[in-house]
Symmetry: C2
Subunit: 244 residues, 2 copies
């Protein structure tokens, strides 16, 4: 299983992906599900992947190899908008599934899905979700976050606390708390977490790898758990009339 999260805010983007891939409990590996295209002066493009690992790796690797190449239809270095980038990712996903799907079907689901985000000079930073069908939707201030993979456990903390004008550092904190909830409830989502914060118009991005023993991650989880236990304890008990 996988959990990938993308958050779109006026200040920029926060992206986070887990690293666990498993085909049964005895075959668990660590993979990277957040891929940054070669940065350029006028573009930062990130692709987060969920679903069949062979399919998503085929899509992402093909697009890496086509980057800056003569293959105009696949070259993300030439795309003029992030909308065009999302379209190219969706088309490449369709090609891969058409080519491999019928061979893979007997063993499992051949499809995948993506979060595609970043900024191309001349337009604001943007965030898209590419569905297994290759079509896609875009995040907006009304839907400031998109998720793929194991999305439900980590959604309540975002629904409650993420506001459309949240600063990037607060959003990064909430992203990690959303992963903490997911990892506690689903063993198939696991560390390290690849975390990327992109500040609008900076055209520079680095991916932070948060390992299990990372001091900030450890302290954040500890402080949240302790604080939540104290909060629950402090809440009023049910009325006596309920006879609980």
């Amino acid at each position: 299983m996988t959990y990938c999260l993308g958050i779109l805010l006026p200040q920029g983007l926060v992206l986070a992906s887990d690293s666990r891939s498993n085909a049964g409990v005895d075959q668990v590996v660590r993979v990277s599900k957040l891929s940054l295209m070669p940065p350029g002066k006028d573009r930062v493009i990130a692709i987060q992947s969920a679903g069949n690992l062979a399919t998503t790796q085929a899509v992402v690797t093909t697009l890496h190899e086509a980057f800056g190449s003569p293959d105009a239809a696949r070259d993300l270095a030439r795309a003029k908008t992030m909308f065009e980038v999302a379209g190219i990712v969706g088309t490449q996903l369709r090609s891969t599934v058409v080519a491999d799907g019928k061979f893979v079907d007997p063993y499992g689901d051949p499809t995948g899905s993506f979060l595609v985000s970043g900024q191309i000079g001349g337009e604001p930073h943007r965030l898209f979700q590419v569905y297994a069908a290759g079509n896609f939707v875009e995040a907006s201030p009304r839907t400031p976050f998109l998720q793929i993979g194991e999305t439900k456990y980590g959604k309540p903390i975002l629904d409650r606390s993420l506001t459309p004008h949240c600063p990037l550092d607060e959003a990064a904190k909430l992203a990690l708390l959303s992963f903490d909830a997911t990892i506690r409830s689903n063993l198939s989502v696991g560390l390290p977490i690849d975390l990327m914060a992109y500040r609008a118009d900076s055209f520079a991005a680095t991916v932070i790898t948060v390992e299990d023993d990372d001091p900030y991650w450890t302290e954040l989880r500890r402080a949240y758990s302790t604080g939540l236990a104290a909060l629950v304890e402090s809440l009023p008990d049910p009325p006596a009339a309920w006879g609980v």
Copy 2:
């Protein structure tokens, strides 16, 4: 959609069910998904339902009508153990699906699932989950809660805060917080919540209906939201080296 939760603790049981049934957004009704069998001196039996409403109502109503009747195979008044009760519910579910399934299939999933809990004199209180297949599993101190329906949004708060020796009032509070998380993240789970706390060996139970304007529910949600926002705010920001 539906969310039903059953919690098994040394002090007794806490059960909670939402009340929304929908077949598309334009056909939303309120139904009861927590059914208490007629109480007796030596037994309290509760059945919580999720899935196809016609199927689950057929199962529960059949068992109500057979209660104390000559129909020995279905009479929960004569069952000697809660294990036997869970088996009768599973068998009745199979009968209903065998009878109706092929007619219902073209319109949707004909199956359902149940939480079956309570106490019969001579043994402790118990909690079972009856699957769509009619087979079932039992809760234990190692798995103190079982869920059916829309289970994921409300699981993190329980995974974090519910301990195997939690008192009943604390468990009722956590059950409502688990529903709050679910209702915020999924519109198809809705109030009122039917809440029942059963104290072990009391052989008496009442179902509390928690409406949207219930003062305790309102205050609990408000205090939790405010407290959580303050907690998140108080947590350390990501290290400066991360460049967020």
